[in-house]
Each structure stands twice: as C-alpha cells, then as structure tokens.
Symmetry: C3
Subunit: 300 residues, 3 copies
Amino acid sequence: MAVRTLLGLLRPWQQFRTTIITLRGKTLVEHGCARSMSTDTTTDNLTLSLDSKTGIATLEMHRKPVNGLNLEMLTDLNIALEKAENEKSCKGLVLTSGLPKIFSAGLDILEMYQPKPERLAEFWRTLQNMWMRLYGSRLVTIAAIAGHSPAGGCLMAMSCDYRVMATGKYAIGLNETLLGIVAPFWFRDTMVNTIGHRETERALQLGHLYGADEALKVGLVDHLCDQEEVVKAATEEMSRWLKVNAVARQLSKSAMRQATIDKLVVRQEQDIEDFMTFVQRDAVQKALGFYLQSLREKRG
Amino acid sequence: MAVRTLLGLLRPWQQFRTTIITLRGKTLVEHGCARSMSTDTTTDNLTLSLDSKTGIATLEMHRKPVNGLNLEMLTDLNIALEKAENEKSCKGLVLTSGLPKIFSAGLDILEMYQPKPERLAEFWRTLQNMWMRLYGSRLVTIAAIAGHSPAGGCLMAMSCDYRVMATGKYAIGLNETLLGIVAPFWFRDTMVNTIGHRETERALQLGHLYGADEALKVGLVDHLCDQEEVVKAATEEMSRWLKVNAVARQLSKSAMRQATIDKLVVRQEQDIEDFMTFVQRDAVQKALGFYLQSLREKRG
Amino acid sequence: MAVRTLLGLLRPWQQFRTTIITLRGKTLVEHGCARSMSTDTTTDNLTLSLDSKTGIATLEMHRKPVNGLNLEMLTDLNIALEKAENEKSCKGLVLTSGLPKIFSAGLDILEMYQPKPERLAEFWRTLQNMWMRLYGSRLVTIAAIAGHSPAGGCLMAMSCDYRVMATGKYAIGLNETLLGIVAPFWFRDTMVNTIGHRETERALQLGHLYGADEALKVGLVDHLCDQEEVVKAATEEMSRWLKVNAVARQLSKSAMRQATIDKLVVRQEQDIEDFMTFVQRDAVQKALGFYLQSLREKRG
C-alpha cells in the first residue's frame, strides 16, 4: 500500500482529537500521522487497529484494572467507534479486551458515588451515545469475550451483531439489581431483543450472571470456544458476514434496531434526569458506598 | 416474637373484612386476632399463611372440587393478595393448591352459564383485578403447581415470577378454544410475555394443554420436581430471589410488566363489555350448556 | 354427494374468473362446472383441490421451473385462496408444491429486472394481498415443504399456521440480502412472529438459509419427516387443528395476527412506493442483472 493511499485513508479520521489508529504493519507512517493526536490519554484505555487487507478493525479495551466505563473511557470508545464508522475501508469491528479475565466490568461505580451533577450528566450522555453508536453501527460488530462481562460490559456485548465467548468460569449478564440499582430501559430493550421477554424478566429481577454454557443456551452469546481462540473465532465468523452485500445487510440491521434506538433518542434528556435523580437518592448512595467499601476490603 | 409486635404486624390487615391469616406457630394469638374477621366465608376457599421468620407467605387454594374461580373465590384471592402486599414483613408468596391433582381449573363455568348481567360484570372485574394484583405484585411470587392448571389456572401460574411444576400427568395451558371461547387479550399478552409469540399463537389456536416436560421445554414452567417436593422447591427457589435488593428487583419487575398491565387499565370497562357480549351470545351459551352437561354425565 | 349439493357448493366460487377446482372423485361434474372458467391460464401455475369429506383443500403450486412468484402466479394464488376462504365446506388448506426439489423460489426476479412501473406496482400489490389473505386466513393453513423455500417461498410457509418440512438437503429462509435487496417490513414482522427478534436479526443480516434440522431448532418449521410423507403428515396434523371449535380458533388466530396485518394495511401504498423506488435504483438493477446472468450461465 502506497503512503499516499494510506494518508488518504487516514484523512477523515484526523478531524478527531483521539486514540491512535494502529494500521498493522505500517507503524512508522502511522505514528507519524497519529503523533499530533497522541497527546490524548485515550491510549491508556483502548487501541483501535484496522487490518487494511480484511477491512476488520479490532477495538481492544485495556483500562486497568477491569475496563470500567468512566467518562474518559466512554469518550474514547465513542471516538474510536466513530473513527471506524467513518473509515470507508473499514467493514467490521471486533470488540475485545486486552486485560486478562475481564471483558468489561461495566460502569465505573466511582462515577456514580458522590458525583458532581454536571459530570454525572455528561457521563450518562456519553454512555447513551456509545450505546446508540455501537447498537446502530453500519459495521459488522462482533464481541470477543474472554473474561467477565457484567452490567455495562454485557450491554456492550449485546449491542454487537454476534458474540463469541470463552468457555470457562466467566460470567455475563445485567446484574444491576445486585447493587441495588436498576438497568435503564434501553439496557432492558437490548436484552429483550437478544434473549426475549421472559428470560430478560427473570435475569433482571435476579441480577443473574450467566455462565458461558447457560449464556449460549438462552442465546445471550452465540458461540463458545477456548479462551485463546476467541478473537480468531470472532474474525472467522466476521468473514461470513462480510460476504453479504453491505448495503442490504446494513438496511436489514437498521430495520431491526432503529425503533429501539429511537426510543432513547426521543427520551434522552428525560433518561439523563431519571438516572441522576435515581443515583443521587440516599439509599442508592448508601448502597454504592457499601459496595465500594466491600471491594476495598476484598483487595485487602 | 412478642405479642405486641405481632399485633402491630396484623394491624394494617384489619381494615379488610377477610380471610384468616395463619401465622405459623402463633395460632393462639392469631385466632384471637382473627376472630373478628372469621365470619367471612373466605376460609372455605383458601388459606393465607405467613412464615414470619422467612417473610414468605403461602397462599393455598382449596375451593372444592377444583379451585374453580367464581366471584367469591376471586374476591378472597384479591383480599389475600392485598393483605400480603400490604404486610411489610412479607417478601414473597408461594401460590399453591391444597386439593389433590388440581392447581386450579380456572374460571367457574357456572358464573358464565345463564348469568345475571350484574354479577357477570362483577365477576369479570374481580378477575381482572386479581390478575393485575398478582402480575404486578411487589412480592416475589412463585407458583407451586402439583396438579392440572388449565385456563385461568394457567393464567395465575403465568402471572407469578417463577413456576415449579410436578412431574407426572398434569396439564397446563390456555385451552379456552376447546370450550368455544376465546382468551381475552391480557391472557394472551401474559402468555406471549412468557413463551413468546409463535408458541402462544399455536397454543391458543389449539387450546393446547402442555404436559410438564413440554411446558418446561417451551418455558411455560421453570422447574420440575416430584409432586411432594413442589412447595419445598418453590420455597428454596424463593430464597434465591429474596437475596436480591427488594426495591431494585421490584422496579425491574415493574419495568417489564407495567406496560402489559396498563393495556388492561385503559381498556378495563371495554373488556368487561366485550366479555359480557361474548358470553351472552347464543352460540356460547349453547356450548357452555353442552360442556356442563358432559361434565355432569362424566360424574355419573 | 348429490350433484345439487355440489353445485350449491360451487356457486360462490363462480363469481371468480379462475383456477380449476378439482373436487376429488367428482371429476366429471367438476369439469362440467369448471369448463366455463377453464380458459384461464391459471392451471399452468397451480391446482386447488378440495376433499369434500374432510374439508381440507390442497393448493399445489406447479409453475415451472421453480414456482417463481410472478404477477400471474400471484394472481392465481389470490384467486385460489379467496375461493377456499369463501367455500363454506372448506376448513383447512395444505399449501404445497407439485414440482420436485422446490417449494417456491420466491419472487420472480424477472418482474423486478428492467420493469414497467405499472406492472411493477401491480406485482407488489398482488404480493401484499396474497400475504394478507394467507396470513389472515380463517382456514387452518399448513405448509407441506418438500423442497427449497427461499425468500418469498419462506414468507408463504411462515404465513401458514404450521410447517412440515422434508428432512434432507433443502433450505428455507429470507435470503434477500444475498441478492443485495432488503425484505420489506411485513416479511420481517412475519419472521419475528415466528422465530423471535434475535434470530430474525441474524437471519436477515446474513440472508441465512436454514437446513431442515436448523429450521426445526429455531422454530422456523414445526415438524420434519421423509419427503414422501410431507403432505400426509400435514394432513394428519391438520386433523388435530380441525377438532377445535372453528370460531374460537379463528378469533384466537386473528387476535395474534391482525395487528401485524394492519401495519401493512395502513402503509400499503407507501410500501408499494418504497419498493418501486428501491428496485429501480441503479445499484439494485445492476445486482439483479448480475444475478440473472449468473443463473443463465449456471444453466449453461
């Protein structure tokens, strides 16, 4: 690939103040290009890399210790997703984690505990936008899950088109009730669209975390394989999806998902207010405080 | 438990003219308290008992011969459900039958055959209210089904959060079409929420009664066990649900069910009219007459 | 059966200028009656026959080579469906194919390639009407599928009440995206009603064609049997459905399906316009052209 082509390819991405795009095997040029954006801290949270031969981007999260979704992480995810979305040569995206034993632990509780209202609102809006971007992406999106994936981690996985999970002891599910909080309606809608009404009702009430086998059985994930094979299996599955006419596939996807996204679009501000009111209730703050305390004690 | 506490506990219940609440192991005090309410005939139909240690109430139906839901039975059910709902120490409710081989045979046909219009309307309204109360209950509700559960019996089971059924020869399902009548929309909605659109469509058209294995397979019940273990299994499952933060669990449940309940709320009067018109049609009266005749002949 | 009865039976059908109704074992009289309608070409496309003993009609498609749904075939289907619908003695309909290895290949691509706008609109409207008639039929409808059933063939099968499929190498599914086109919303709705949201989303994006085993597993078909037994198995299943009170069964069916049909009723003209705009796009015409070319080359 000529440097000129590569630069042309990068151009639309440069409007963003953002994460490094690692074009495999073209690191020199890439770092030259990306350096002007490298002052961002986004590289601490994730890496987006595009295989220019296959058109498959890999979005690897690595915010220690558990890929917790705080405002900065969510902002990075939004920028990375928008980059991949706008890059014409990019056709698919594998969403995965670079940390061991965890896909993503979901929302960073610290954003919700004793929050500043302005940041709390911004946090929630950024989460909403991330979900709308991922759930409505024109790309084929496949989650490669080689670790625990509770709450917001489960939401991200469900928002992809296909889910590959490692066999083993990892858990996935919307377990919000266990923390005394309630998943917002668009988490629920996404789960209903994935595993149906009854299973969602049970799962949400119990805050149920599914093991891999159980997740496969109810359709929360689509394929199981060894931990080491998860990204490979995701990429192989992707090749099947990329054979389909892209426009027809995107229109079909949108037809199935847009109504669910539109429900949030028209209620976005109300949903932010609802979330802020709920989180700032004394009982919820107390529950979060206890939870954080128990986490600290666990770590010794 | 001190008598004073117990009285405090009973107080909110005394506003109802109603069923005896049997507080296990506290029969003396209880009967003292309950005596003023014991003129009600409700004890012929059911017993509500609360285990004050676990917070689990058991609602046992025993209206002979088949727990048919007539106006009095439904009224008793409403009062019992409201009591359990209003009793702060009560967290969960196991719904079961004290009669052999039957959970509930559903609506008492005699209420529909050659009915007086006023009672017919009241009958239907009381059924609607019972369903709204049970389906929307703040309590964890588990059906312990150790007998047949057709029609309205199936509706009650489906309105709980979880269903334990005895292995064996019992049947469960909405079999209204077999009698020439049609399940109202909120029966259908409850079934769609439980087993999905396609399975409901097939089941309703055929008036299909599921055996236990088949019911488990399509998700109409959640767990099978020996007949003698049904209440025990329900109580064990309950303990799992009671570990979850109650407010978060209730909000999650409500989020999944309120829209379905609201559909009836806004159409309640129309639904009563529709039912009355339908039931009083000549063809339906004739079908019910034949059915009652065949029942009488069966019994010899 | 007396000739008089037979004539009475045929009378309501004579308002249609249409397909031959073959009343089994009554061929003389039948041909006498039908002769006035026999100038129609509809016999080239299908045969509708009614077993007057059982009340079960068989609608056998045999438009060579693959039961492609062109305007004439769809018109014949509409007329045949309306006949069966209006014939009081007819209670059920088995939809099947008289051609080997194919149920129906779906829409005839030639109707969409370089179309005349007026015929294109009429083609689409006739397809819409056929679906509304079949999906909303008062009859028990069972698809006997002993061959491939892609796209519109799958739609027809899904619109029946029950699907029997031959074990073997046949495929069924909505594979529109593979041709670069998109299934209209009522195809999607019918599939969601049959196999649920998640499975539909995946199937539509991939244009997935299911083998018989897989189709059974996801609920796209209900029963598998040997190829030679398909019509027999459909008829046997039918007898179970015909035992149910017809009015109650029809009301239950309508209650589950009418909302989906109504969505098309209110958007029918818009849907025709959308289809015409889509099909006449250059990219779609090009894709259809390539596809037709590849078909021609296949045949050598």
